[in-house]
Symmetry: C2
Subunit: 472 residues, 2 copies
């Protein structure tokens, strides 16, 4: 738990990252290479995200369901680009109940195929549409280069899958999902980012197009942890998802899928942490307030206990850290590493003068509030911290979004700063590959259609504005 064991974030962000996960007790390594144990403190962050996002999903009328973990290999093979995209990453079950299987089973890397096989049976008429389901589950993608939360062989996510009568309706759904994700990012995680369309190279295997939310980390690299796909009729044609419209004409359904993963917790850790450890925004912090007493006299302990009960009773995630084997200093240190948004330090002085000393994790400064209206004051402080953290993220993003008008400028930015590079560009997989090989940067997303400029790479008239960056 000791902060001293933590490498400086500013010195070596990857070492800092793996250390802070361990020291702040977010996760541990699993016994199988590339797997992870999400410990209670990390899982509580996921539960806070789930609660918010599940609320949005239910409000929209999307229904939760559960589809099988195992998918027949032949299902994956039905959609050509889908299987090409996923086959290098598959975990395959070949033996069940002591017998070799005739057809191997794939552990779901994503569930389009198994869900759309069912949709093909369930959908007959326009009255069955829209069909909108979601599941919260685990998926497996066998990754060579792993990193806790960021890229693990198994991860948790929600995947929404919908079928609509028209393409317009599907696009509306695709946009809705990305809006919900951005809200979670901004309002809960206090992380800003860019939303836009993926390039041909980067889009989901089997999608007509993919929306993404891309957020910049202090390493200068970018995290993508949620995407929303317009699947067009690609899967409905393969899985025969047909409906008879009001005029009696048969059509293939228009589909979307969208997913949000535990990877967002990697972004949360990286974006806000500092040399002292984690720094969690109040809206997602498992412990929003840690109460720590400077002296364990009866008066002080009673005061802390009462305060804690009052805060908890008012719906604040507060904890009175009453361990008797740790010093005051050790506890302050511990809650700093663990990123609790506010630590309330209580000693005899506070008991006497009716004031509370609140240590803000984000600014590392003390704020004095009245004990009398502690809940109101703390709620206000939460709002201030939350919006101040989001503002930092907005500023960081903006300061690190640079424009390149040609490839030399582009390469200079990659060498000197990394971050987002904004360019006029025409999507071309071959060029994207060259740029990636030469600079490590790939397209993150198309943020606007704009014909006023020239393609930074080819010098020809360009149609769109794109963001490039190195990604995790």
């Amino acid at each position: 738990m000791a902060k001293e064991l933590l490498p400086k974030k500013s010195d070596n962000i990857s070492e800092w990252y793996t250390s802070v996960i361990r020291i702040a007790d977010l996760a541990d390594y699993g016994p199988v290479k590339g797997t992870m144990i999400i410990k209670p403190y990390g899982y509580a962050i996921w539960e806070a995200i789930q609660k918010q996002l599940d609320g949005y999903i239910k409000e929209k009328g999307v229904k939760n369901a559960y589809f099988p973990l195992f998918i027949p290999m032949s299902f994956l093979e039905k959609e050509k680009s889908h299987v090409e995209g996923f086959s290098p990453e598959l975990a395959v079950v070949t033996v069940c109940g002591g017998e070799k299987l005739e057809e191997p089973l794939v552990v779901r890397p994503t569930s389009e195929t198994v869900i759309y096989d069912a949709y093909g049976k369930w959908i007959q008429s326009w009255r069955d549409l829209p069909l909108m389901m979601n599941q919260w589950c685990n998926v497996v993608r066998w990754e060579k280069r792993t990193m806790p939360f960021m890229r693990t062989s198994e991860f948790l996510w929600q995947e929404g899958h919908t079928a609509h009568a028209t393409h317009e309706e599907a696009i509306e759904m695709q946009n809705w999902a990305m809006d919900a994700y951005s809200k979670v990012y901004r309002d809960l995680l206090a992380i800003d980012g860019y939303t836009g369309l993926k390039s041909i190279t980067e889009r989901f295997a089997g999608a007509a197009n993919s929306l993404t939310f891309e957020s910049l980390m202090p390493s200068g690299k970018v995290v993508q942890s949620c995407t929303s796909h317009d699947l067009g009729q690609n899967f409905s044609k393969v899985f025969n998802i047909k409906f008879q419209d009001e005029q009696g004409v048969d059509s293939y359904a228009w589909q979307t899928s969208w997913g949000y993963t535990t990877r967002s917790i990697a972004a949360l850790i990286l974006a806000h942490g500092d040399d002292n450890g984690l720094c969690l925004p109040p809206n997602v912090a498992p412990i929003q307030i840690a109460i720590v007493s400077a002296k364990a006299t009866k008066e002080v302990v009673d005061f802390c206990r009462l305060l804690n009960e009052e805060l908890v009773g008012n719906g604040i995630r507060s904890e009175f850290d009453n361990r008797d084997d740790e010093t005051f200093g050790y506890k302050l240190n511990k809650w700093e590493v663990r990123g609790a948004p506010i630590v309330i330090k209580v000693g005899p002085r506070e008991v006497d003068n009716g004031k509370l000393t609140c240590r803000r994790r984000d600014t590392l400064s003390d704020v004095e509030i009245n004990r009398g209206d502690a809940t109101i004051n703390i709620r206000e402080l939460f709002d201030e911290i939350q919006s101040s953290m989001l503002n930092s993220s907005v500023n960081y993003k903006e300061e690190n979004t640079r424009t390149a008008s040609n490839y030399d400028e582009f390469k200079d930015i990659m060498k000197q700063h990394k971050g987002f590079i904004k360019v006029f560009w025409n999507d071309d997989p071959k060029i994207e590959k060259i740029i990636k090989d030469e600079t490590t940067a790939t397209t993150r997303c198309k943020i606007a259609e704009d014909t006023s400029g020239v393609d930074f790479y080819t010098g020809k008239p360009a149609k769109d504005i794109w963001l490039f960056a190195q990604s995790y």
Copy 2:
């Protein structure tokens, strides 16, 4: 959706069971043999159970976490009886990312081994105890004879895993879990049952002893869908879960594990359904109230809409079924099959006289209430339905618990009635096997220690009272 397609429960309960699941839209078959798709109407029942049980778990101070799906085969082999119990049912991953694995990976059938391997690393001192974690997840047990919800190759559950300094504390935990499960069964599912200890044959592979909740179905067979195990030091010795006590002495931790599964939904369907379909208790019904209009005039539709808004606003899971392609009769029929506890039938008369006609699903009778205080009246009705359904279950259990003083009486009861058979008996795996082979009955649980009788099978002095029954 048509009730006419439903076989009579009284004629053939297994055909009725698979039909009602399909017609009421609870679940569908997955593409892989023995797997199931839990559809939204079925999944919402699971969510209601989760919400309640997760609340109990958090109140108790048990923390949610997430452990990996894949377990190295060698982990399972560490605890001898554990691997013997589970090896016939394992699904095994042998290929990952296109390469054959050196050590095959087991898809978790339960997570003792992977969790206790971690506990062995995390626990050093008495200060680390109790360590109490829980996860909500999927598990895979490859079953030959499957039945939706009742026994599927993959199912959903929670599994709690704890480590304690003393055996007493572990037993307290084991009892706590079984109490929580009984509360879910009785208060939510309105199903009564017996709690007791499992026999040597029936207990969990690796446990010192297992507590169970056993409930009787109208088929005369019994469902077991949750168990709570005292693991003694069996796993802590194998996974080296040691702690130094306050005196500096090293001891192995005492452990428990406990799980509650989607199998309880099988019990819910079987226990309360009738020839007309599902019958759901209000506390767990996804739709507690269906509002159906006899005539779709503007007045009636507005009345229904307002009523629905009021009920939903008061936290009641109400739905105004406003489809225009189904008749009034068809809708009544549909909500009967789907088991909505109350259907409110609205026509011009109700709009005029300020009364509401509530059709109770459990009694199939109409109750008139005042529109004015609809919410209060409906809440009272819910309570009445819930307790009346539980009472039926209590009565059914008691009427079908019969006492046998010798093996002939036992066999007669099995032939004529099935149900629970209460006997004096001394636990003996060899005798249990003979009884099972000859009568299909197995021990369900030991309900009391009592030395006043003689063993029904051997005629020798007996130590305990046991319940036998045929199980699902």
